[in-house]
Symmetry: C2
Subunit: 160 residues, 2 copies
């Protein structure tokens, strides 16, 4: 996937996000950052991927501003990775994936993980709602149109 | 990414979802299905990917039950791909990606696409909220613990 076409310039918010997040290891590195991983070896132990792949993915996440890298040791030089605001706001995406997963992918024994929202004190799952009416979003009730950032002169058969 | 480690058996809802959705082309194929694409050539024209890659990704999406495949022509044999319930419920994940994208990836000209929620009649973005208190989820207020589907005897340093 590192070699695939960049979709960052496509005039579509989903395609832009896919360019930054649409990679399995990247999503799992972010998951681990949300779980508390900070050091290279935390991610390496958890994911069991090659060090070169992990190094590359972490570098891209730092370059794009989802993680920040800062030294925690000078001798030897060692770094830890912290979520930035941009990175922290990926959590709702992963939380919605977790909710879909619990709906569709669990075995009969039930969910492997239970999430509690400490702010309200309840076990919960994520729901994705409309910012205006607060009802769950259903794609059949959505309509998309070109916005101010859509390039003029470009055709898109699906966008009025 | 087709060759990567399967994470479908990891005891984590995010890892399970990543196994089904954590691939750039897969997410973009789903995006196009939500936009109205049904036929192979719809997807092919929109995405500009190789026919072999598209064929493989569509096959996996059908195998996993996110799309259904049915004939629309016998001579020559031609098929269309429709969202299943499982596939349609991926929309909240993509909608939350679009909201993150609009927050962090737009240029000064603004969003390329505007979404309207026909059910309430307003332009909107997706928000990810707690199923119990309806407040937006913030990872700093979340706690995860082992659920009934977590394999006994398995260690996870991040899960009590």
């Amino acid at each position: 996937m590192t070699q695939r076409t960049s979709t960052s310039e496509w005039p579509c918010p989903i395609a832009k996000a896919v360019d930054e997040l649409g990679d399995g290891w990247t999503l799992l590195i972010m998951r681990d950052a949300f779980r508390g991983a900070r050091r290279f070896d935390d991610f390496h132990r958890s994911l069991g991927i090659g060090r070169n792949i992990l190094t590359e993915r972490l570098r891209v996440l730092v370059d794009r501003g989802l993680l920040s890298k800062r030294p925690y040791s000078d001798h030897p030089p060692r770094y830890e990775y912290r979520l930035t605001d941009k990175g922290r706001e990926v959590w709702p995406v992963l939380a919605s994936m977790a909710a879909w997963s619990d709906q569709w992918l669990n075995g009969p024994e039930g969910p492997p993980v239970v999430y509690r929202h400490q702010a309200c004190g309840h076990d919960m799952h994520a729901e994705v709602v409309c910012s205006e009416c607060r009802e769950p979003v259903d794609v059949r009730a959505m309509r998309a149109r070109r916005g101010p950032g859509f390039p003029s002169g470009l055709d898109d058969p699906w966008l009025p």
